[in-house]
C-alpha cells in the first residue's frame, strides 16, 4: 500500500532486510516442518503461484542476485551453478553437490587454486552448449562494478588480480575490458576444466561458488543492465513473460534435459509470480486458502500469523523455524558518535528487547535474544559469549537503574558523549528502515531509553535507500538497525563483513578504535587458516571481542515463518538458503 510498507520482507541473503517482518535455520527447533517430497505422491503439471508485496525480485541478473530467497528461487528454476546445495531438508541440505560440474571442486596449492570439470550435455534455452567460456564470462561480470551492482564480492576479492591504488580491482569487467589479460590469467579454461587462481588460501571457496554470481552467462545474450529483466536460462524453466510490478511467468525450458541435472525436479508446467499485492490481500488469500496452489513469498503479518498458526486444519501448510539471520543494532563508535564504552553499555542495559520481540510476533514467531553476532546454527563457530545478556544486571525488559549507573560513570569518563546522550536538544540518532513495524519499534525504544534518561531520536530511511545511506560514514547515525546471516557455514562470512572495514558491511566504524589494527590482523590470520578447528576457535574469540566492545548490541536470533496453500506439495525448508527448496515444489491435483 504505502511506500512505508513496501517490501515487507526483503531478505537479503545474508544481508537482511531493511524491513520488519520475519523469515528461517534450525538450531533444532523446526516447529511446523512438513515432510519433503514423497516420490510416490508427487504430481506433474499444473500452475504454481507465488505472491509477494514486492514490486520485483531484488535482482534477476545472476551476477547481481544476493538475496537468500531470490538465490534459491532462480537457482531452482532458471540458472545453474558449478556446485549447489543438496536439495533436501535438514542439515544435510548444507552439503554441496555437483551441478554444472562433475565434482565439487579440487583444491590445490594450499587451497589457492581450485579446478572444476564441466558436465557434458548442458544447454542454454536455444539448445547451444554451456561452455567453460560461458562460466568464465559470467564470473568476470562481477568486476564491472559500474553496471553489475549489488552482487556478492567474494570472487572479486579472492581472485588473484592486483588492486589499484583506490582499492578497486584493476580489472574493470568485460564491458570496459581494462585489465582483461589479468583476469584471463586468474580464471582459465582448458577444455572442460575451469581453474580459479586465488590470492589467498580459501579452504571453502566452492561454497562461494553456490552464489549465482558464479553461474555462466552467454556473452551474446548479455545486455548489461537490461540483463536483469531477462536472464538467459540454462535451468528447467525460462521466462515466458515478465512485467515489473505485475507478473513473472516461467514456462518449461524445452532444451533442458532431466538427465543433465541431479539437483532439480521440475514438476509444475507453469510458475507464476504475482507482484505488488498488498500485505493485507496476501494474508487473506492465505487465510481463506482462496488460491490453494499458492506459495506466500513474504511472511504473514503478526495478527494473521497468529490466526494461521492456531488453525489445526492448516498444520500441513506452514513452518516456523530459526532463520540464518541475526538482527542487531550496529553502534557507530567513530569520534563524535558513540565513542564511549560506558554509554554503549548503558544503551544495551536500557534496551527493551522483550517489547521489540512482542511487537513482531512474540518469541514464538520472532526469535530470542542472542549473545553473539554468529548464530548457533553455525555449530563449530558458535560458543556462548560472556557478559552482555549473561550479565546478572541484564533484564530483557530493560534495566534503567543499571543504565543510569553506567551513565553516571560516563559523565566523568566521556562528558561530551554523556552530554549529547542526555540533552533533550541533542540526543542520539537511531537509523531505522521506514516500515510500519519499525515506526512502532521506535516508540518502544524511545520509551525504554527515556526511562534511563537517554534521549533517543530516529532517522527513518526508505527501505530501498537504507543500506546505501547508513553505510555512508557521513550520514550514519549513532545506531543502525541491521541484520546479517552467514553466507555459508563458516563464520568468516560473518566476522569479516561485519567487523572489518573492507568486509563491506561494517557499520560500527570500528576502524576508528585504537585496538582495530590488531583485530583486523587476527581476522586476516583466521581467514587464511586451513585447519578448521583452529579457525573456529579464532572466530569464537573474535566474536567475543566484538561483543565486549559493544560494536553491536542486542542481537536477536530470529525465526521465520513460511505458509502455502493446501494444494502445494513437496515443501521443505532448505536450510542453507533459508527458504523453500523451490525445485521440488509441486501442485497437487
Amino acid at each position: 500500500m504505502s511506500g512505508s510498507k513496501m517490501a515487507r520482507r526483503h531478505l537479503s541473503r545474508r544481508l537482511i532486510a531493511t524491513t520488519a517482518a520475519t523469515a528461517l535455520m534450525a538450531a533444532g527447533a523446526l516447529v511446523g516442518m512438513t515432510s519433503g517430497a514423497n516420490a510416490a505422491s508427487v504430481q506433474k503439471g499444473g500452475t504454481l503461484y507465488f505472491v509477494t508485496n514486492q514490486q520485483q525480485f531484488n535482482h534477476m541478473d545472476p551476477s547481481r542476485n544476493y538475496t537468500g530467497r531470490d538465490i534459491a528461487f532462480f537457482n531452482s528454476y532458471l540458472y545453474r551453478n558449478l556446485v549447489s546445495y543438496k536439495p533436501v531438508k535438514g542439515s544435510a541440505g548444507s552439503s554441496l553437490v555437483p551441478d554444472l560440474a562433475t565434482n565439487t571442486g579440487v583444491p590445490s596449492k594450499a587451497a589457492k587454486v581450485w579446478t572444476f570439470t564441466l558436465r557434458q550435455g548442458i544447454t542454454w534455452e536455444d539448445g547451444s552448449a554451456v561452455t567453460c567460456a560461458d562460466v568464465q564470462y559470467g564470473v568476470s561480470r562481477a568486476f564491472a562494478t559500474d553496471v553489475i551492482t549489488d552482487g556478492p564480492q567474494y570472487l572479486v576479492g579472492a581472485l588473484n588480480i592486483p588492486l589499484a591504488s583506490d582499492g578497486s580491482s584493476v580489472y574493470k569487467g568485460p564491458y570496459k575490458k581494462t585489465g582483461q589479460a589479468l583476469y584471463d590469467k586468474a580464471v582459465t579454461c582448458k577444455g572442460n576444466t575451469i581453474t580459479f587462481n586465488l590470492n589467498r588460501s580459501f579452504a571453502d571457496f566452492n561454497y562461494a561458488l553456490t552464489y549465482p554470481a558464479a553461474s555462466p552467462v552467454k556473452k551474446s545474450k548479455d545486455s548489461g543492465d537490461k540483463y536483469d529483466l531477462r536472464p538467459y536460462s540454462d535451468g528447467p524453466y525460462k521466462i515466458g513473460a515478465y512485467k515489473l510490478g505485475d507478473e513473472l511467468h516461467l514456462v518449461r525450458n524445452t532444451a533442458w534435459k532431466q538427465s543433465s541435472d541431479t539437483v532439480r525436479t521440475p514438476y509444475p508446467d507453469d510458475i507464476v509470480v504475482r507482484f505488488g499485492l498488498s500485505p493485507d490481500v496476501i494474508d487473506q488469500i492465505m487465510l481463506d486458502n482462496s488460491i490453494p496452489n499458492t506459495v506466500d513469498l513474504d511472511s504473514l503479518q503478526p495478527a494473521a500469523l497468529r490466526t494461521f498458526f492456531a488453525d489445526s486444519s492448516k498444520a500441513g501448510q506452514r513452518l516456523n523455524v530459526f532463520d540464518p539471520y541475526v538482527r542487531y543494532a550496529a553502534i557507530n563508535v567513530s569520534p563524535g558518535h558513540l565513542d564511549c564504552l560506558d554509554v554503549r553499555k548503558a544503551l544495551f542495559f536500557a534496551y527493551n528487547t522483550q517489547g521489540l520481540i512482542d511487537l513482531s510476533g512474540g518469541s514464538v514467531f520472532y526469535g530470542q535474544p542472542g549473545d553473539n553476532p554468529i548464530k548457533p546454527v553455525l555449530g563449530l563457530d558458535y560458543a556462548p559469549t560472556t557478559g552482555n545478556i549473561h550479565d546478572p544486571a541484564y533484564n530483557i525488559n530493560g534495566n534503567p537503574d543499571k543504565a543510569k549507573a553506567l551513565l553516571a560513570q560516563a559523565k566523568t569518563s566521556c562528558p561530551a558523549t554523556y552530554e549529547r546522550a542526555t540533552n533533550p536538544d541533542k540526543g542520539l540518532y537511531y537509523d531505522l528502515p521506514k516500515s510500519a513495524t519499525q515506526q512502532k519499534a521506535s516508540v518502544i525504544i524511545q520509551t525504554a531509553m527515556a526511562a534511563a534518561g537517554i534521549v533517543m531520536k530516529f532517522n527513518f530511511i526508505p527501505p530501498g535507500q537504507y543500506y546505501a545511506t547508513v553505510q555512508d560514514v557521513t550520514k550514519q547515525g549513532d545506531l543502525s538497525r541491521a541484520g546479517w546471516g552467514a553466507d555459508w557455514a563458516n563464520a568468516s562470512t560473518v566476522v569479516y563483513p561485519l567487523f572489518v572495514k573492507e568486509g563491506g558491511f561494517d557499520m560500527s566504524q570500528n576502524w576508528n578504535e585504537a585496538s582495530y589494527p590488531a583485530y583486523k590482523a587476527a581476522v586476516t590470520a583466521a581467514l587464511n587458516m586451513t585447519n578448521r578447528t583452529q579457525q573456529a576457535a579464532a572466530w569464537k574469540k573474535l566474536a567475543q571481542t566484538a561483543m565486549d566492545n559493544y560494536w553491536v548490541i542486542s542481537p536477536i536470533f530470529s525465526k521465520g515463518q513460511e505458509v502455502w496453500g493446501s494444494k502445494v506439495g513437496g515443501v521443505y525448508f532448505w536450510e542453507p538458503q533459508g527458504t523453500f527448496g523451490f525445485g521440488q515444489l509441486y501442485v497437487k491435483a
Binding site: G3, G167, D225, L229, V281, A468, G504
Partner: protein, 332 residues
C-alpha cells in the same frame, strides 16, 4: 481567431519549456545523490564515481538538461561494450532501478491512468451535473437538501479515507478478487476484466469529485435562470424543459468546461492516492514509487513534467473551446 490560436500556442510552448527547466533545476539541486543511492552493497567512492558517470550525473546541470532535451528528439545511448543500449526518441531517460527506458514505463502506465481518469470523469460529470440541475429546479425541497448533504460530504471527506473504506468494505463483501486486484487488463482484450479492475476506483473518485460540480451546476443554473434572456424565453411561452435544454444549460455549463478540463488533466497526471490504495499501476503509482522507494530521478523528472504539461495543454484546449461555446464570449 488564428492570431489568437498562434499566440496561445506559443505561450504554451514557452510555459512547457519553463516547467521542464524548473523541474530539472529543483531536482538537480536537492541533497539526494542517486549515484550513492543506487550504489549497492559493495559501495565505495570508486563505485559511486562510476555510477555517477553511468547515470549521466558527472556533468554540469545545464549539460544534463541539454542531454535530456536532446534525448527527446534523438535516440540516446548508455553504457559501453556489450552493455550498450539505447532509448529511442522521444526519450525521457533510462531508469536504472527498473532497467527500462522511461518512455516505455510511461507508455505502460498511461493506459491505466487514462482508464481511471476517463471512467471516473464521465461518471462524475453525469452525477454532478444531474444532481446540480435537480437541486436547482427543486430549490429548497428535499432533493435540494439531499444534494447539499452530498456536496458537504463529498467536499469534506479526504479521498484516501473514502477510498480506503470502500476498498475494505468491498473486500469484506467479497467483491475483490485478491489475485487480480488492481491488475491492468486492456479493455480491448478483456472488457469485463477491465470493468472489474476499475469500477470501484471510478465510483470513489467520481463521488468525491462530483460534489463540487453539483454545487457549481446548481448555483450556475439558478443564476442563469434569472437572467433577462431566459425570462424573455419564458415570456415567449416556451416550456420549462425547452428553456432548460436550449438556453439555461448551455450558458450555465459552459463555465464548467474550464473546471472539467483542468480537473481531467490533473487526473491524467496520476491520481496518487486512488492508484496507491487500489493498487493500480498507473502514472501516480509509478511516480510515488520512484520517490518513496528508490528516488528514481529520471522517472520523477518525466512524470512531473508530463503532469504539468498535461495541465498546460488542457488549459489551451479549454480556452479555445470556450471561445466557441459560450455565447457571451463569442459575442465579445
Amino acid at each position: 481567431m488564428l492570431k489568437f490560436l498562434a499566440k496561445r500556442l506559443t505561450a504554451t510552448v514557452v510555459v512547457i519549456g519553463l516547467i521542464s527547466i524548473s523541474v530539472f533545476l529543483i531536482f538537480s539541486y536537492l541533497p539526494m545523490d542517486p549515484a550513492a543511492l543506487t550504489c549497492g552493497k559493495a559501495c565505495n567512492p570508486v563505485v559511486i564515481a562510476a555510477n555517477r558517470h553511468r547515470l549521466g550525473l558527472d556533468v554540469s546541470v545545464p549539460v544534463q538538461y541539454g542531454r535530456f532535451v536532446k534525448g527527446l528528439f534523438v535516440d540516446r545511448t548508455w553504457g559501453e561494450g556489450a552493455a550498450k543500449f539505447s532509448c529511442p526518441a522521444p526519450g525521457f531517460g533510462y531508469s536504472f532501478n527498473r532497467h527500462e527506458c522511461v518512455t516505455q514505463l510511461i507508455k505502460e502506465a498511461f493506459p491505466v491512468t487514462f482508464s481511471l481518469a476517463i471512467g471516473s470523469f464521465i461518471l462524475w460529470m453525469l452525477l454532478g451535473i444531474s444532481f446540480g440541475i435537480v437541486a436547482a429546479r427543486k430549490q429548497g425541497k428535499w432533493q435540494d437538501k439531499a444534494a447539499t448533504a452530498f456536496v458537504v460530504a463529498g467536499v469534506s471527506l479526504p479521498v484516501f479515507v473514502t477510498a480506503l473504506l470502500t476498498l475494505l468494505a468491498a473486500s469484506k463483501l467479497g467483491l475483490v478478487n485478491p489475485i487480480e486486484f488492481g491488475r491492468w487488463v486492456s479493455p480491448f482484450t478483456d472488457p469485463i476484466g477491465w470493468l472489474k479492475t476499475f469500477y470501484l476506483p471510478w465510483i470513489v473518485l467520481a463521488l468525491f469529485s462530483s460534489a463540487s460540480y453539483t454545487r457549481f451546476t446548481r448555483s450556475n443554473v439558478i443564476e442563469t435562470s434569472s437572467e433577462d434572456y431566459i425570462r424573455t424565453a419564458r415570456a415567449k411561452g416556451l416550456s420549462e424543459k425547452v428553456i432548460l435544454r436550449k438556453h439555461t444549460l448551455r450558458a450555465a455549463l459552459a463555465p464548467l468546461l474550464t473546471l472539467a478540463g483542468i480537473d481531467f488533466a490533473v487526473l491524467l497526471g496520476g491520481a496518487i492516492f486512488t492508484e496507491t490504495i487500489f493498487n493500480l499501476p498507473g502514472l501516480g503509482r509509478l511516480s510515488i514509487n520512484a520517490v518513496l522507494t528508490d528516488y528514481d530521478l529520471p522517472v520523477i523528472l518525466a512524470t512531473t513534467m508530463l503532469a504539468a504539461t498535461l495541465v498546460v495543454v488542457m488549459n489551451l484546449i479549454v480556452d479555445v473551446l470556450y471561445a466557441y461555446l459560450d455565447p457571451r464570449v463569442r459575442v465579445g
